[in-house]
């Protein structure tokens, strides 16, 4: 907090954008986050004016090859012998429009992405000169581009389409034969390349080499015949390849998973999180008519920048699986939520201290774990969750493959040693001390509490979304929701609390777990006051120490989340 207060004022520079004086920071973070002189393109962005571009990407090294961001600028004059810059008659500094040195009078553009601003420069982002340059670059890009928008997956989110509408010409002058290049190239196991659609911006090459650390892509041939390629005989296959599809400004790189599945303009976009590991990459779910079609990374510089891994991105198919649990089941077969909750509450109210144990999941939300812990406290119940480990990588993938282990720890469901109390729970069942087991989202038969042990219980209450050996033994089976079907928060491995929102309706009887738990906690403990997710989160933030110290509120989380100290 202290450093936030003493932060020095940002040094600024004044430039003119389309005749309007704007004050912009002197430096702006480059792709690696290091401050560098603010560029013309960035200055225009600060001023709310978009400079069209293909090759420039804020998270990639600048190469300046597409020339789409050419802008006509006027520079202040050099100081004369008196040390003063040349002035107009009205006392304002004189500026000199840039022109070709060998052809005075013909305007010369600078590339916005790589040209640093100079105090007093005029950036003519929308002047006829600038528009003419853009039009010319677009014309060049389009002469060899196939007119296959109707069958192109990128249509609707294509920069070539968008800029053609904004800056292009209605007709092409091109009277020659187009260059033909390879189409439907299997670049790797998850990527298909259409080299004819490619504008050769090299974003994919730079991403692979400089961000993913796999210098796998390059350009073959020369001139207009240039084409993207992986090294001969080596497929483009690392865990980050699908990011190249996101950053491809056109339809050259398409995802084998999403290709031809859905027109993008039909997709509803919902802010969500990836649940593949403890990193908590921010995502956008693309869905239509209650079916999820894709994940895309959502920029969050504190977590995942603009990227996500391929494994995480493709880890959504289970959400729409046919065998999802959709029926609420009690000991006498299918039932309804009012009766089931009444019966469970009645049973739990009578349960003695120490006779109940809870196995929660670190795939559950902070709110759900908080409520489970409230329930647990009522019976002094043993609680734990199940660890999931994998190998961490150099970029985004965390060793912890649960999305919310930190949340489980902070809410008190588990300890630093996740799963260390599972053996004690098993022992309690063996000894007959534990008579009721509540399981959320885990197949405990895989974690030391086998089907035979489960048979010893008087009552097994299970909430899950897919069938397994534990759900089959349940006395009460409560169908739950995936994260795409409810709202809530996760706390990632670094202690960032982030929220996700609801993209899909749950199927059948399934209900968000926090709603079910809220009801149970109310019935069993008499506690009240959190019947909305906002209220519940704020209540939790007030009671869980780490959250309280950080001063979290639901509204305060915003889209990017907030850090808690671990």
């Amino acid at each position: 907090m202290a450093d936030r207060q003493t932060k020095p004022a940002v040094e600024t520079v004044t430039v003119k954008v389309d005749g309007r004086a704007v004050e912009v920071p002197r430096t702006t973070p480059n792709w690696e986050g290091k401050p560098e002189p603010t560029t013309v393109l960035q200055a225009c962005k600060y001023a709310g004016v978009e400079i069209p571009h293909y090759c420039y990407h804020p998270k990639l090294p600048v190469v300046g090859n597409c020339r789409m961001c050419l802008v006509h600028v006027a520079m202040p004059g050099r100081p004369g012998p008196d040390g003063k810059p040349p002035m107009n008659e009205d006392g304002t500094p004189k500026v000199f429009p840039m022109q070709l040195p060998y052809e005075p009078g013909t305007p010369r553009g600078v590339i916005g992405c790589a040209t640093g601003i100079i105090p007093g420069m005029d950036i003519n982002a929308s002047s006829p000169e600038t528009r003419e340059m853009r039009e010319a670059v677009l014309e060049s890009l389009l002469i060899n581009h196939p007119l296959d928008c109707p069958i192109c997956d990128q249509a609707g989110e294509c920069k070539l389409q968008e800029y053609s509408v904004d800056h292009g010409q209605p007709e092409s002058r091109f009277a020659e034969v187009k260059v033909h290049k390879p189409k439907a190239v299997d670049l790797g196991p998850r990527i298909t390349l259409d080299a004819e659609r490619c504008v050769l911006c090299t974003r994919c090459i730079r991403f692979s080499a400089d961000v993913a650390g796999d210098d796998a892509l390059g350009i073959v041939n020369r001139g207009s015949y240039n084409a993207i390629s992986s090294y001969p005989g080596q497929p483009f296959d690392n865990n980050y390849t699908l990011n190249t599809v996101d950053i491809c400004p056109v339809g050259a790189l398409t995802s084998d998973d999403f290709r031809f599945q859905m027109r993008v303009w039909f997709l509803k976009e919902t802010k969500s999180l990836c649940t593949g590991c403890g990193t908590g990459c921010n995502t956008v779910i693309g869905s239509r008519e209650n079916r999820m079609y894709r994940y895309e990374p959502r920029q969050n510089d504190a977590v995942n920048s603009c990227w996500m891994c391929d494994v995480g991105r493709l880890d959504y198919k289970w959400i729409g699986r046919d065998d999802r649990l959709a029926k609420l089941r009690g000991p006498r077969g299918n039932t309804t939520w009012p009766s089931a909750l009444k019966e469970i509450s009645g049973h739990l109210t009578k349960a003695a201290e120490g006779s109940v144990a809870i196995v929660a999941s670190s795939r559950q939300t902070n709110e759900e774990l908080f409520l489970l812990n409230k329930l647990a406290k009522r019976f002094k119940a043993l609680t734990d969750s199940v660890p999931r480990k994998g190998e961490a990588d150099h970029l985004l993938v965390a060793e912890d493959r649960n999305p919310n282990t930190t949340g489980a720890q902070l809410t008190g469901i588990t300890t630093k040693r996740v799963g260390s109390r599972l053996a004690a729970i098993a022992k309690g069942i063996v000894s007959g001390k534990i008579k009721t087991l509540i399981v959320f989202g885990e197949d405990v038969t895989q974690h030391g509490i086998d089907a035979k042990l489960l048979g010893k219980l008087k009552m097994l209450i299970v909430s899950d979304i897919l069938p397994n050996a534990t759900t089959r033994k349940a006395d009460y089976l409560l169908p739950g929701c995936s994260h795409a079907e409810k709202r809530g928060t996760f706390t990632n491995v670094k202690g960032r609390v982030q929220k996700f929102t609801k993209a899909l309706e749950p199927s059948g009887d399934a209900m968000p777990e926090w709603e079910v738990l809220h009801e149970l906690v109310h019935n069993v403990t008499g506690l009240d006051g959190f019947n909305s997710i906002e209220g519940l989160f704020n209540q939790m933030a007030d009671e869980v120490k780490a959250f309280k110290v950080a001063g979290l509120t639901w509204a305060g989380l915003g889209d990017q989340g907030a850090d808690v100290k671990l």
């Binding site: 060049s140 060899n144 002058r173 390059g218």
Partner: protein, 348 residues
């Protein structure tokens, strides 16, 4: 080169020689071995504490490697895509992002003579502001094409073509049509062109001058004032047997083939121009093709990462501007022939 390195306290130098010169590379390597054996290279050169290594690096046959930042990329083992300037000026961020001096052979060859003669005497060669000598490569339809070393500005274009010491005139019975004065990327001159130029004399006084094409002294400034450049000092002479559209098509094919393809205007434009010219050369020219070509070339020059954009645009711009009648005539003829053929086809 060793002298230049010594002057700049450079410890490591490369000679980048294009891949098409295997014999040249062998000779260079032999010379370097000789120099090392004689104590001019390696550690403690000539008994001093100065160390220098020179390596010969052979290119792989791309014209763009002549662009200094493209050359640096190539030397680093990458595709020779020229770098954007700013920020990658070689003197600040060159080879392996270290300060680097890139000079061509011609420049370095002068060092020896400057050292030998002394700066003042060397500067007394040539004209007041364009000093020294240049080796002119004279090609095209002259009797004696070849390489001629001249004092800069001490021979005119006319002398270079006609003088008995140089080209010895056009082939018998031919008339001059055009001259490309400084390599194929320089703007073409049309025979009979006249120029009104202004220049400053030794005392800074501005003097007006009328020059015929053949009276242009072969120096940097005058050629630039006449709208072209001395560039690589390769003069291409074209006589009246040359088809201008064919000649430009030939040049454009070269530039389309050698464009590295990094930045959009040149990548797409160079091949576009070459394709248009190919169409025109195969009997399908259109009346508007002169403007069509001009439009494409205009969209390249000044908008690319490196000067290759100008190199491929300038021949087209200058050929079209100076020989517009050739292009328009061809368009009219082809369109008329096509119309006639269509009429005949319709009639039958």
């Amino acid at each position: 080169m060793i002298l230049a390195c010594y002057a700049n306290d450079v410890k490591l130098a490369y000679i980048y020689i294009r891949g098409e010169f295997p014999e040249g590379a062998r000779i260079l390597n032999r010379a370097i071995d000789d120099a090392r054996a004689s104590g001019f290279l390696g550690k403690g050169i000539c008994g001093t504490k100065y160390n220098l290594e020179i390596h010969v690096h052979r290119g792989a046959g791309a014209y763009i490697c002549g662009e200094e930042t493209g050359l640096i990329e190539s030397l680093e083992g990458k595709r020779p895509y020229p770098r954007i300037k700013p920020p990658y000026f070689p003197a600040a961020l060159g080879l392996y992002m270290c300060p680097t001096i890139v000079n061509n052979v011609e420049t370095l060859c002068n060092v020896r003579h400057v050292m030998e003669m002394g700066g003042d005497e060397y500067a007394s060669l040539g004209t007041a502001v364009n000093t020294g000598t240049r080796i002119v490569s004279l090609s095209g339809q002259v009797k004696r094409p070849g390489y001629y070393e001249i004092e800069v500005g001490k021979a005119t274009l006319g002398e270079l073509i006609f003088h008995r010491n140089f080209g010895q005139g056009l082939l018998d019975g031919r008339k001059l049509r055009a001259i490309i004065p400084g390599g194929s990327s320089s703007k073409v001159f049309r025979a009979g062109e006249k120029f009104n130029i202004k220049s400053k004399d030794k005392w800074g006084k501005v003097i007006g001058q009328k020059l015929g094409l053949l009276d242009i002294p072969y120096d940097f400034d005058t050629l630039m004032k006449c709208g072209s450049m001395s560039g690589s000092s390769a003069i291409i002479v074209m006589d009246d047997s040359v088809d201008i559209v064919e000649a430009l098509g030939n040049l454009s094919d070269f530039y389309a083939h050698e464009s590295c393809g990094q930045c959009t205007p040149c990548r797409e434009g160079s091949l576009w121009m070459a394709k248009a010219l190919k169409r025109m050369r195969s009997g399908e020219a259109r009346k508007g093709d002169a403007d069509y070509l001009r439009h494409i070339a205009h969209n390249i020059q000044g908008r690319t990462i490196c000067a290759f954009g100008e190199a491929c645009a300038w021949p087209v711009l200058s050929f079209v501007d100076k020989f517009r009648d050739d292009f328009e005539q061809r368009g009219a003829e082809d369109e008329a022939r096509l119309a006639k053929r269509n009429r005949e086809a319709a009639a039958s």
